[in-house]
Amino acid sequence: MPTHKEKLLKNLPGKKMKFTRRCLKFALTILLLLPLLKATSQTQEIDLSGKWGFQTDVMDFRRGSLSPRYNHKLQDSIILPGITDDFKIGYKNPYKYIDRLTRKYEYMAPAWYQRDIEIPKEWKGKRIFMYFERTHWLSSIFVDTKEVSKVDYISVPHNHDLTAFVTPGTKHRITVGIDNRYQYNTHKWNHAHTEFTQINWNGILGEIKLVAIDPVYVDDLQVYPNIADKSIKVKMQVRNYTKKNITGNASFTVNGKKYNMVKKIPVSVNDSLVTIEEVIQLGRDIKLWDEFNPNVYNITCQLKTSSEKGSYTHEKSATFGMREVKQGKNHVLINNRPVHLRGTVENAVFPKTGYAPVDDAEWERIMLILKKYGMNHLRFHSWCPPKAAFRMADKHGIYFEVEMPMWGKDAEVDEDRYNFFRREMRGILKEYGNHPSFVLYCNGNEITGNFDFIEELTSNARDLDNRHLFSGSTARTRVKSDQYYVSQQTNKGPVKVYEGLPHTKWDRSTESDVDVPVISHESGQRCIYPNFEEIKKYANSPVEARNFEVFRDMLKENGMLDQAPDFFKASGALTVLEYKAVIEALLRSSKSAGFQLLSLNDFPGQGYAPVGLLDPFWDSKGLVTPEKFRESCAPTVALLRYAKSSYFNDETFAGDAEVYNFGPKAIENAKIKWWVTNEAGKTLQNGNLRKRSIGRDDVFPVGNFSFNLKGVTSAQKLTVHLSVNEAIKNSWDIWVYPRNENLMKSTAEVLYTSMYDDKAKQQLAQGKTVVLCPQPENVKGRTSTFHNHFWNPIMFAWKPMTIGALIKNDHPVFDQFITSYHTDWQWWDILNNARVIEMQNAPKDLRPFIQIIDSYDNNEKLGIGFEAKVGQGKLLVLAVDTQKDMANRPATRQLLVSVDNYVKSGKFNPKVAVEEPFIQSFLMK
């Protein structure tokens, strides 16, 4: 806790650096009231936020020039905290980047920030530091004409020791160089400074201050909880710059909700640096920390010492929680209990500011969103967030995995780079190690190169700090010191889950069961068509969605701009149901340690991946409510294993119910109910499973049930519900169809054919109807698939480059086929046995009733089913295989029935005419 005086100093009006006389006087008055403290025995701070002199240095020549020698005043000005983008400094970008949001003003070079600062004469004898909470990458300080300090951490604050270079009572011209160029040859995609997400900004963020402290002070305060005996071990580094032997005491105060205790110990410091270790018993009122009980405590050490020359006071505080993390057989253990991590990957996506927030409010918002979506975990992919993120995760009970800015070939031999990582790792552990939310540490993402170096980092980190679990690299070579493993595969097989299946009798348990807990890496990644409405959200951002403008213009040129909102909603709905399937598969995997969805929010780089249920601003896209999402992603979830989604009505539905319970407690006498409703909401069947107590920290089978579908005489969508004690509910849609034995019967009026031959042409010429169902292998065009594209079609240009389907569900062709505007699992056997027709050259007004959504960097019209006039005749084309394995394709059979009823009814009256060359264009010769 800051002292009363510190608070006053921090809140100086106007946040000016000038140490106003009025405040000094006030502070001195306070000090007079505290006769034990002398004016020289307090930490003092000067807030340096506000206006600074400024100059760009795109030629990187100020250091090499003679300017510093003349102590020139910089000519421009800037407000800190802030970044150059805020002031439109840099290259005004005329381009429209396709693969990312476009930065409006690009700047990558040294930039110089300057202020004349009077060092208070009271600071004589103190240690004087200049502190920047977050900057990147290299900060260097000139005091007057001389460069005196350089720091190049990425993940932690820069704290420059200026003691030897400033004179109390003197005004110095302080010039700060911030160089955001890559200081080492590291991967350009790492999220600490990539242009793909947060931009590679130049500036200083968070607290910017000059700090004066007594020469005997606590440099480092680390708290190691021991939950068994309710104690903490405090490990302090005490520095002594007095060159004298010092004695005194350290007084520890531990504060928390309904908790306060003080312990005082004698201290003697006979060297320039000593380590003090003290075990403090906290008593039985201390509470453990975990996701359900995020009890946070604050410890302050007040160090009061003296020598014959004077007395010294320093205070250092830390936040901690009573929690231990251990490596379980398959799970991470928090306080000896297995947890299952339900998380998302955080990639420093902050387009509103262009940098990761350093304030509590924005991080609190994110933590609350995670909780709202049933999550308890956040992986920081190739970066480490600022302190505010840890504070808010401590407060709300979120488990963090943090990483260094390390990716790809960063482990290839390069001693300079290696040394940077060695420093950075230690910096992260020291700065954030006390936070209970800091549960997992991994060096970086998908690393290649020298794994002896990765093992060295991991092993050293383990030796340094036992308050976290450590892992060498995500999704690459294992190392001996791994305590957990985030990967898409183990040596027992794949643990990734990118997409669902039309049944739920599967999991990734066996493959996850190796020597360390395994977390499924970057699950999901299902692409949604961009929502062009988001363009306007960037008005006040340092970046703009100019890529969206390009995509939108292309869609307009291709005559489908009016369909943009439908493409967004239909592909979005598909992603929602894929994520339900993905997450439930990983919850069914009792030997999986958890998953990291990629991602709850969009990723605006690497080609632009709109895979999120939230946009890049962490605002909902309106595709699913958090309440609905929590049915599949929460501490306790009802799960159901069943064999398929589409049934004939002479079959029986059978389900094996399970309860995933990683909630705070076991569920005594759980009442487990199942029931089945139709689309009107009417309950058709129901039952209770045997009442039982459900344990915790595992996935529990709770019984099975079945029901006969013979009462369902017409095609129907049914919903199977499962509940545990009313509060926990989940549901799954299934589709039931009659056998539909007689399909595709031609009549005099209607000809079914798989060939566009003379007979078909003749039929059309007679003004009659032709239903053309060409075999997929005879159709040019693209492979048909159920799933929407993985990640995004720009980065992974894998065929067929489609992102779901838009179904014209109010079209009479679907009168007998129950479907939404988007595809759902009943479409599985249709879409996996079809071929996508490229229809860009069809008349503009021709819109397929089964329309496939093209990749947004191509935006061509695609379809599987459409109707058209051909001369006087009427044509319906359905590029679906109507021969293969039809006995097991109930939905396709039903679709054919619906088509049949339609074409044989008076409603079949195509409006748009096509010419024969178009028909020939998509058929193999």
Binding site: R478, V479, N491, M795
Partner: protein, 256 residues
């Protein structure tokens, strides 16, 4: 490699004897039993064009070797390949090391390249080219090799009981190796694959995992559930053929 196994065995001295035993491979089965349908092509085709997404494919072609120390060079290897001339192993190659000197007599020979695709490229300059397997040019001393027989190997969904084993190995080509071992105390353990090249393992017909000598992790966890008291069967699919003929268990994971 042998030495390491004995060292590991020493380390686990305290464990029950059966876990320290070296299991001797006593029978082999040829890969021809798991051939998929062969595609004939003048030029190389990547996996993608023969509808193989992951797994193993055998590329075969006639070559004419006209010099001693002839050099085989491949333009793209995704991701690992074991090279054989006739039935003699020449070594393994990856995309980082795409050249190999052939140790073979002058004359006509059958070049066999067994390729495994490990995964997709997720970053880097090759990201837009996600072809898998072999593609581009293959040359022997600069002469392009053409006329390929490309055969998918159905390893992953294999029913082990369908394989026909013979007690004697007829050649050094990649194949399946079978052995038996006894367990008196059934418990979770680790199979130590150190010494083996690259492949996959089944115990009692159940798939237990894969291994690769280039990985640091050299063991595969074996859960007690799949072990039987007394007689158990192990089958190893080995791609590279390091002439390893035994395998053992360890109490702890084994790392290089």
């Amino acid at each position: 490699m042998r030495r390491r196994i004995f060292l590991m065995t020493g380390l686990v001295f305290s464990c029950i004897f059966i876990y320290a035993q070296q299991i001797k491979m006593s029978a082999t089965a040829g890969l021809d039993q798991i051939y998929g349908s062969t595609v004939i092509s003048e030029n190389l085709l990547p996996f993608n064009e023969i509808d193989v997404e992951f797994g193993y494919v055998l590329y075969e072609a006639q070559i004419s070797v006209e010099s001693e120390d002839a050099v085989l060079e491949l333009e793209n290897v995704r991701d690992f390949a074991a090279v054989y001339v006739d039935t003699i192993v020449q070594g393994s190659i990856t995309n980082d090391e795409r050249k190999i000197t052939l140790n073979t007599a002058q004359g006509k020979h059958l070049l066999r390249i067994y390729v495994e695709n490990i995964g997709r490229i997720t970053y880097g300059p090759e990201i837009l080219d996600n072809s898998k397997g072999l593609f581009g040019r293959v040359t022997v001393d600069g002469e392009e090799v053409v006329g390929w027989k490309i055969t998918p190997l159905k390893v992953r969904d294999l029913q082990i009981e369908d394989l026909k084993f013979h007690s004697k190995k007829s050649n050094a080509l990649p194949g399946f190796h079978k052995g038996f071992f006894n367990v008196s105390d059934v418990k979770d353990t680790y199979l130590n694959m150190a010494g083996w090249g690259m492949g996959e393992v089944w115990i009692n017909g159940q798939y237990i995992g894969s291994y690769w000598e280039k990985e640091k992790l050299q063991s595969i966890q074996v859960v007690a559930d799949i072990l039987r008291k007394d007689k158990n069967e192990i089958v190893i699919f080995e791609l590279k053929n390091n002439s390893q003929n035994t395998v053992g268990f360890a109490d702890e994971p084994v790392f290089n």
